[in-house]
């Protein structure tokens, strides 16, 4: 006959089996992982992080994905980048800046182009070479250009001339030209 072990009267109850939901007097580990030791603080942190992300990615760094090949080889199709909206609060776009330009209808689709001409300048294209105020523009970012032709135009005081880096394309296949300063969303971050 096997004697059964009975707890002595007044003895502490046995510990929970291994893998149980909590160790004595402590928060369960899964709760610590999910909401931390202080759930209220975690909630505040999440709210601050979400609000901060919303503000940053709506008003400062607008994320976008590049579609198309008009900025190759500098920017490839499918790459993700950001438009820095703050930079043009302190200065105007400069020649050579790669900028995101919103369409007239709204901000959800943007063109990615390089600033070629500044307000008031005369821009023309002869045999693939861009001329600014009659002088050829040095464009080290362009490889293998086609012999594009565009008559010279004069930019207004609030206009920039923008083009893609890919000049191997047919001219008809690329969107480029004058754009209003107000449509420039920001400078590409990297």
């Amino acid at each position: 006959m096997n004697p059964t072990r009975q707890p002595a009267p007044g003895a502490a109850p046995a510990a929970a089996p291994a893998g149980g939901s909590k160790s004595s007097g402590q928060t369960p580990w899964w709760r610590v992982v999910l909401v931390g030791r202080r759930p209220k603080r975690t909630l505040v942190r999440i709210a601050v992080l979400a609000g901060g992300s919303f503000v940053v990615f709506s008003f400062a760094l607008v994320p976008f994905r590049i579609e198309g090949s008009s900025m190759e080889p500098t920017y490839r199709h499918g790459a993700v980048n950001f438009a820095n909206r703050l930079v043009y609060l302190v200065r105007r776009p400069r020649r050579g800046d790669v900028v995101a330009i919103r369409t007239t209808a709204g901000p959800h689709v943007m063109y990615l182009k390089r600033v070629i001409g500044l307000p008031g300048e005369r821009i023309g294209i002869r045999d693939g070479t861009v001329f600014v105020n009659g002088a050829p523009l040095d464009e080290p970012y362009v490889q293998n250009r086609r012999r594009w032709q565009r008559p010279e135009i004069q930019l207004a005081a609030d206009e920039y001339y923008v083009m893609g880096d890919n000049r191997r394309m047919r001219m008809e296949d690329q969107e480029f030209g004058r754009c209003k300063a107000s449509l420039i969303v920001g400078k590409v971050l990297f």
């Binding site: 330009i101 209808a105 182009k113 030209g177």
Partner: protein, 166 residues
Amino acid sequence: MNRWRLIACAGLLVALGGWGVWKLFPNEETVIRARLQQLARKVSFEPGESLLSKTAKASQAADLFSPDVTVHLTHAAREQISFAGRADLLQALNNAHLHARGLQVEFPDILVSLEPDRRTASALLTAKARLHGEPELYLHELKMVLKKRDRQWLITNVEDFKTLER
């Protein structure tokens, strides 16, 4: 119920009421936007979609245009494409459905402006189109004129425009 709960409930009720009114009696701009989004859905079709479904969609898309609609578009290679009348447009839609394997059209941006008479409106929109199996995205900026006829907004004119002017 304490005072703050009462205020919160009243605020919630007001918000729900406002949302209900907005849903039940949308303003003209919302109606036009919804109609143009409907156009994008009707023009799009999946690769395996049946001919019957595609024909029905093309017909429903054509119904969003007025019988005397005029369409002037510039093709990617700068060729002009024009349609005059709903029948002409319907034929073009059916042809596109026959020849393309699949097409997804979206209007991510729609800017609507109503004329003072509130029976004429113009909409600037950005159209994104992707043919099935092609990585290239086609982007088109369109200007549409809509007129209210028999309590329905019908597209009477379509032409393209460019944000970047050459």
